[in-house]
Symmetry: C2
Amino acid sequence: MFSIHPTLESDTCEITDLPLSRVLLMKDRGFPWLILVPRRDAVREIHELTPDDRAILIEEVSLASTILTRLFSPAKINVGALGNIVPQLHIHVIARFEKDRAWPGPVWGSGPRVPYSEEELASTVSRLQDAFSRA
Amino acid sequence: MFSIHPTLESDTCEITDLPLSRVLLMKDRGFPWLILVPRRDAVREIHELTPDDRAILIEEVSLASTILTRLFSPAKINVGALGNIVPQLHIHVIARFEKDRAWPGPVWGSGPRVPYSEEELASTVSRLQDAFSRA
């Protein structure tokens, strides 16, 4: 039975389910930051997925990147599968800006998260859900 | 005419060419660290590749991950496409260990690189070339 790791769950809001991955929004207003979690049990590494799942995953990463680019016009998309702390495969897809708090370094370890206001979070979730539903 | 960005070129050694990507070894003995550069001009983002190229890329990332796992038995593989500094699409595939200098944080920005000795570098390049040639 698939479930999101509790650490990921508490740090994020659910956006939608794509064919393979659950799409989450990181609760950090410093970056438009999605996390894709393939709904497969006990997988920590990309090379542990089947080739068919990998082919779907890279298209879902590409879709998430395209949506972030369209909605937020970032300078760069950052994609990362680290998982040194959370033992469940998850792929970060993050819109980066030359004025964000970590630029040009990585976002991971760049300091404490900045919470969204309730309104901002609801509106960001809704814009993203709308974009994924039209994709 | 495809060429590796000068910053990437000066930081790495060439290992091999896969069907899509050139495989480079980062000259940092702190981590077994490969970089895959798709041989496509003027591409900065995964979502700018064609779907066919993306399908090949994820298999090449998976192959690089499998080879690092087999040769070095890491605790975790980290995969990342950042490119905030170097404007050429390149994907890091890095073997991570609980005792490496950045664990459990990201390797990027984790401090100055530690040079290989000439012998270590030659032997690491040769082990990697051998593993890719058998794959």
